[in-house]
Point group: C2
Chain length 243, copies 2
């Protein structure tokens, strides 16, 4: 089973110089009142299960305390819009979101890998290009965390949840503004901050089941929908649509 | 009652040279199964009701036949994310969407101006800076339509709904690729195309009730939430949040 054509299309679009740095997409969720929410997220790469290039997953990250995590645990269906202005491509990806919290986190029990999914294939077979079998979610979570900038890491060790009301903009200055890598942590405080930040850091893994690709550069415009079959074959069916 | 600070923040961000052309935001809706959807939309400007600078509305447009229109008629709550990469500002705006179809369109009866809203104030008082009283929705719809590029106008006169399956990309070539302005329409076909496109063209007017502004450029980052009171005063309450 080959890679779906949409993943090549995304790679091609990302490689166009005009799309440099276009790794931000907007992820929509629904809350417990069935109201829509959407925010920008940074794409942290694709993960492909070993032997299944047809099942690429998208990875992004967030704070375990942010409202979207609760929204996704209760309604895992999400849709994201990835607009690449430079090449005038829009990828709308809908699918299932899966939260990867620390192993001892209260959310862990709510986030068993769902059966019959690409996530389950990844869980069982591991990642393409990596040694070993069963996928190590915690290792991946720590790797992605370690790759973040020190200022970004600091955002996860603020003792108050994101979105909480504070008396002034200066309030944030009370908390760490940078968390160095654990190898470079020279003080007990740095180490505590690292652990605190890591305890709030979660991966969001998105398993696409439909991709709607609109190309606004060619005349006439083109629109293609890729839909994954629901059987164990996980085949991608391609339809050409009116733009 | 003054303009809310968030609208000045958006104007300021749009005026930064690095944000030139950043008039695309992603609008999230929910469908009848309570699943989230999101797509890029072009901002077509603000409308402010006469005498109520505190009640700016956002305007964008679409095709009456697109799935999001049905979604918004059934669940008018929407949220949009406006990411201005150049200045590293994100505005998340949640509120109510209102569809403005042609007067004789089947959706018209479903889209009465809701009472006790900024939309109702606009409907009654008209637009700031314009003559006359009651707002002329059809005039505004025609004005915005007339401002579109000829190629864009052509998209609304495709006889098949957007998102319909077609046999090939070339199928689109059977339909008009450009609809000139009605003043320049030289043939009966041009005139028919204009009318056909206009009959499918709808405005989406979004009435903000909450704006969440994240500034990623300043250190430390800043986050501010503006919430509108639900009474007739329509006051904007400002809270500083953990980013």
């Amino acid at each position: 089973m080959a890679s779906p054509r949409w993943i090549k299309a995304i790679s091609n679009a990302l490689n166009v110089p005009e799309n440099k740095g276009k790794v931000v997409y907007q992820v929509a969720t629904v809350d417990s009142h069935n109201l829509p929410h959407v925010r920008s997220q940074i794409h942290r790469g694709f993960i492909t299960p070993k032997g299944s290039p047809n099942l690429p997953l998208l990875m992004t990250s967030t704070d375990a305390r942010s409202p979207k995590v609760v929204q996704m645990l209760s309604t895992p269906s999400v849709e994201l819009a990835w607009w690449m202005e430079g090449s005038q491509d829009q990828f709308r990806i809908s699918g299932r979101a899966f939260i990867v919290p620390p192993p001892d986190h209260a959310f862990h029990i709510m986030s068993d890998v769902p059966r019959g999914t690409a996530l389950a294939v990844l869980d069982e077979k591991g990642e393409e290009g990596q040694e070993g079998g069963k996928f190590d979610w915690e290792k991946k979570r720590r790797e992605v965390f370690a790759s973040m900038k020190p200022e970004m890491k600091a955002s996860w060790c603020i003792p108050v949840a994101p979105g909480s009301i504070i008396p002034s903009y200066d309030e944030v200055k009370k908390w760490p503004n940078s968390v160095p890598n654990i190898d470079e942590a020279s003080t007990a405080e740095d180490k505590n901050n690292w652990n605190e930040a890591l305890s709030n850091f979660v991966l969001m893994v998105i398993e696409p089941v439909q991709v709607d690709w609109v190309q606004l550069a060619p005349r006439p415009n083109r629109r293609t929908r890729f839909s994954r079959t629901d059987d164990a074959v996980f085949e991608w069916i391609e339809d050409i649509l009116v733009p």
